[in-house]
Symmetry: C2
Subunit: 341 residues, 2 copies
């Protein structure tokens, strides 16, 4: 059986049973943004890891070392953000091919350290090794969160309002510009490229949402809204109805879509790598949470729909037409990056 056929989630299903040999410590195991284990009576240790592989997640010739390091750490910190946690430590392992110079690796670490400094994360270890062909970066981060504040994927409840902490789709538009270089540069290019290369983990937002006590479920948008919201409803045993007219389209994404004649909704649903947070908020509290969020961060918490009974992801268009959304997010075993060379 090939992995291409069973897919990433098929493989995870096959290997994730029978993995706990001291289960009393485990609050969340395989299947959430981060794992959570008990340390002290009211504190939880969060653990998350992500691996970036050349040719699958990035093209070495199309990215600066500094951006790559920054992004590799950001995607891990975003997992801690999605659990409502405070980021603590990072371990960084790299497999480096012979044709990759020390300067590139040093730039990568500069990028990581700039982000680590911003969020007070210690880089305290890792592993360095050679590689025959591709550069591989594997980062593990730890975080902490009070046990009763932890945000999980599987706690969405019927009636919850679905919210986003930012604008998804921009990163995928940035990737399009990298893979399809166009003549001339526009103002919005830089913004979209930066959103792809330097995603910002929504750590402060996640901590604030966890502290509100009104958020039932959360996830970060790493594979695209269709895929990630799909995880939330499947694991929570609910359905969702999203109002297409409420999906937040940034002016940058709208300008990009006008120019390249594409639909921003497609970028928002299937784009991925934005690392904004999606959360589901108790309907009684959503008004207060929204007001408080905007007062704290100076940006709106976008309300995009509602958790409903059932198991489907329904998207209602402005005209009232409804369609079923299937997850189309990234399957790392099916795709390979190419830039036409």
């Amino acid at each position: 059986m090939t992995l291409k056929r069973i897919g990433e989630f098929g493989l995870i299903e096959r290997i994730s049973s029978g993995c706990l040999f001291r289960p009393e410590r485990v609050i969340r195991g395989i299947g959430d943004d981060a794992a959570a284990v008990t340390t002290t009576a009211d504190e939880t240790l969060l653990l998350s890891t992500d691996m970036l592989v050349e040719g699958i997640h990035f093209l070495r010739r199309a990215v600066s070392g500094e951006d790559l390091g920054c992004k590799a750490l950001a995607v891990n910190l975003s997992d801690i953000a999605a659990m409502g946690g405070m980021a603590r430590e990072a371990l960084v392992s790299i497999a480096v091919p012979e044709d990759c110079g020390a300067g590139f690796i040093e730039a990568m670490y500069r990028g990581m350290k700039s982000l680590a400094a911003r969020y007070h994360v210690n880089i305290i270890g890792g592993d360095t090794t050679g590689s025959r062909s591709d550069l591989v970066i594997s980062i593990t981060v730890t975080g902490s969160v009070a046990k009763n504040r932890i945000l999980r994927r599987d706690q969405a409840r019927v009636g919850d309002v679905v919210c986003l902490t930012g604008y998804p789709g921009e990163s995928a538009a940035g990737l399009y510009l990298i893979l399809n270089p166009v003549d001339g540069a526009a103002d919005f290019f830089d913004h979209l490229l930066r959103r792809h290369h330097r995603p910002r983990p929504h750590l402060k937002e996640g901590q604030w949402l966890a502290g509100s006590g009104a958020v039932h479920a959360a996830i970060d948008i790493s594979d695209g809204l269709s895929s990630d919201l799909g995880h939330v409803i499947r694991q929570s045993g609910v359905g969702v109805r999203i109002d297409a007219g409420c999906l937040p389209v940034s002016t940058f994404l709208q300008t990009f879509c006008d120019r390249f004649e594409c639909d921003p909704i497609d970028y928002i649903l299937d784009g991925g790598e934005d690392y904004v947070l999606l959360c589901t908020v108790s309907p009684d509290a959503v008004s207060g949470v929204s007001t408080g969020f905007e007062a704290t961060f100076g940006r709106p918490l976008h309300q995009i729909g509602e958790i409903v009974a059932g198991s489907r992801f329904k998207l209602t268009a402005e005209a009232g037409d409804t369609r079923i959304v299937s997850p189309k997010g990234w399957n790392h075993f099916k795709k390979e990056l190419t830039d036409g060379e």
Copy 2:
């Protein structure tokens, strides 16, 4: 500047400064077997990570999935053992090339789970992704140890007796047999191959040594005695005199060396991947520690030499001749595995 030229440790030196942005939590950062951070007043969280890359650390066609999984976890648990810790959780990330079947990956997880079960380690997360060519496995483990029991590399003191918890050199002999297949099989082959494929992390031994209160420094033998003992003396600011006649040569290694006409001392000094522990023990306490170790584990704690003033690693032969040993252990940027195909 190429990495081949500056080497693994040269690179680590270049990237490991300016990595701590919340230093008050950190007991040990980059440079020990595992990092150690404060969690509660008397408990320490240990974190360690290792990456195994196809073609550098293993040949996929020469290893079973089960052995590979078992070894990948064992090398990480060994780092926790070297800090005197109890192993807790593991995160497993894999990058899988298209030509690697799901069966191989499932066998890998069976191997990991068998070892995790033995040491009550939870496999609680990870990442799965594709790879264009080589299989990569990156594992991070956590552990815990009482703050005043933690074993470090940099605390060896002049007068300490240097001890080993097992027989180094056997794993390298096993690797020789894999890379240079010979006609016919001998009884000792299986043992040496097993020592290479299925190293046993000395977790119980490490915990026992930490509990003795008489061990000043410890490290696991992953790159070879010359390299790993070299780390201990350099970081502790001391020298060492090892008595060649006291180096423990197993009957299996001796039989192998007789047959292939090589010197077991070379295998012990430069072999690597044995994952036995080296420790330095207070001279007043070493007799009691040795007796207690043998009573507990039914095997001797081998006393092989003494920490001395200076900075050199001196090896004294039985005839009294002394030579200086330089680290010859594995440099992952210089070597690539080949089996002649």
